[in-house]
Subunit: 253 residues, 3 copies
């Protein structure tokens, strides 16, 4: 099984599918091709949340604003899961989520020195590399000189919330397609009953959206385990006027 993730929209991912299907009969499963353009951070968040629900697979993920520069193309082999991606931090959070220590992951640089283009390495480097990783063990790819051991150059981490005088200072990490603003504050930080104060306003903290009336703002614990700012049948990002990267302060009401 190979999963595909990108910010390519349509129809570029189809070229990647074609290239892979020249080399493999693997099932190909889309994670998303509508990640926000060139937004490594948002895609890194979603890969960390989504990939662990999959059985063992090769995950080809391409959000690649540095395409055609000298950034590395890498494979991260975590045992059950292998990631094929640019070395720009994109797969660091999911790799960390799937491993206990840095010793549990082996990194390789991909050696495709003559890609057909300088602008679409998804098709010309990552897709053929992902198919090769799916079809043959890493040892064979080392032997063929398709990959060589490397060390990743770029890291990416999400901030932890901090406590200041009883208030939790967190951050909106991403906004999902429903408009739910997902924070970095773990759900268990607060007891889920009654209300909380968010940036000074008192808002109900409930088990799910429909526990308040349609159109009413709420806090809940999203499927990722963190607190999210939402509106029942509406958009939390609009109601709370927040965007990714913005600080929010949450405290007991």
């Amino acid at each position: 099984m190979i999963t595909l993730s990108s910010d390519f929209g349509s129809p570029y991912p189809a070229a990647m599918r074609g290239v892979m299907l020249q080399q493999t009969d693997a099932r190909i499963v889309d994670i998303s091709h509508t990640f926000p353009r060139q937004d490594i951070r948002t895609a890194a968040f979603w890969l960390r949340e989504i990939v662990p629900w999959f059985p063992s697979a090769v995950h080809c993920a391409v959000i690649d604003p540095g395409v055609g520069t000298d950034r590395q193309a890498v494979v991260a082999d975590c045992g059950g899961h292998q990631f094929v991606a640019p070395d720009n931090g994109l797969v660091r959070p999911v790799v960390r989520a799937l491993t206990e220590t840095d010793d549990d992951v082996d990194w390789y640089a991909i050696r495709i020195d003559d890609p057909a283009s300088s602008t679409f390495h998804g098709r010309d480097i990552f897709a053929p590399a992902a198919a090769a990783v799916h079809e043959r063990p890493m040892d064979a790819l080392l032997e063929e000189d398709l990959v060589v051991p490397t060390t990743p150059e770029t890291d990416l981490t999400f901030p932890e919330p901090t406590e200041v005088g009883g208030a939790i200072h967190g951050e909106v990490l991403v906004v999902d397609d429903f408009g739910n603003a997902i924070t970095n504050i773990p759900g268990e930080t607060f007891v889920q009953e009654g209300s909380l104060r968010v940036n000074g306003d008192t808002v109900p903290f409930v088990p799910s959206f429909a526990h308040v009336d349609a159109g009413t703002p709420l806090l809940t614990v999203g499927s990722h385990g963190n607190i999210e700012l939402a509106v029942n049948q509406g958009r939390g990002d609009t109601a709370f006027d927040v965007t990714p990267g913005e600080e929010i302060v949450v405290e007991r009401a």
Copy 2:
């Protein structure tokens, strides 16, 4: 084969795919993940129109504004097709379309009492249930206590058009991605030649879009068999100024 339908956009459906692929090698086919958010009625219409074109399959459909409340999660077993969905009316029209009487369908409540989240039952209840329904007969699932017989609590029906003094009073049921406004008026209600009056305006009633000039409003019989309000190479909803749920009056010109 398992089909997937939701209003989740991207990338949440990928988590559902991952969960199912942990349990099954079934082909997974997307029907849509861009149904209008929380709009049970529109998705129910499309499931009724699309699913009957499929061979026998398990259909996992999640438009679920009541997620995390005490609404049931159900399986509707129609013989060839099984539906796994919230008990909110979503699959009632398609189940009715595929069966002759209520005796041809068996309903079960899904017993997953400890989902990982209260906000994403697509991933935590419906996906694993759909995989189980695909892999094992209902009897085995009863034995495992994964399901118990139940009665659905919520129905959903579409209105029938009525005749008032020779005019047909119908309703716009949905607007498709092209902007065609699909009504509940069967195509055979009128002879397809010449024109009809729609809300007072005279409009050609033609076999297909290109039978009038580009930009011209028309009535035609859509692929669902009902009259739709369209514009050749344009949007019918805009030209006729209609939205779903709105009454329209159609009569001979």
Copy 3:
């Protein structure tokens, strides 16, 4: 393997998948369903660029503003690849790209004279025909009278750039989802160093996007081999104020 291309958005392509899966176990791969509506030219460009990356397959492509009129439904058999499409020019460029001469392709008209609808031949003609072409040799389909030899009636070609006094007069063929404006000017027309003048403005001509600062306009050679007008992490169509079909003049700076 069957690929699917259309301007149908969602959920109409699912009905096509269902119809095909009644007849075949083939892998079904989406190329795109978000081609601009009724825009045969743009889809023809992308089919020409994407399909050659695939292994042998049946390609079902439906951008069909003439649905329900007397335009032919055709199969183009190029040996390794077969195309099933309306006879409106849509597959002419890709067929030409995959063959050396017109003798390398056989054209057939599809004989489904009683489609279930006049408005959705994707479901009622092209999907069942594509499944049949996948499952049985053309000879068998001739025998069954599902197809008869024909000559395509509609051609579609893209213009070649011309040179006028040292300046290259080209055309913007399409704009991709990133906003890159893809021209018909081959990349090798100019040496890729320094700058070029585009419609009078001097712009760097670089190997890839990130060779200039974020937000800066640039020219580069896209993955299709042609010069494209782009902005690093931005939209080239906006920055250069161009739309498909528009002339652009490129010359040495």
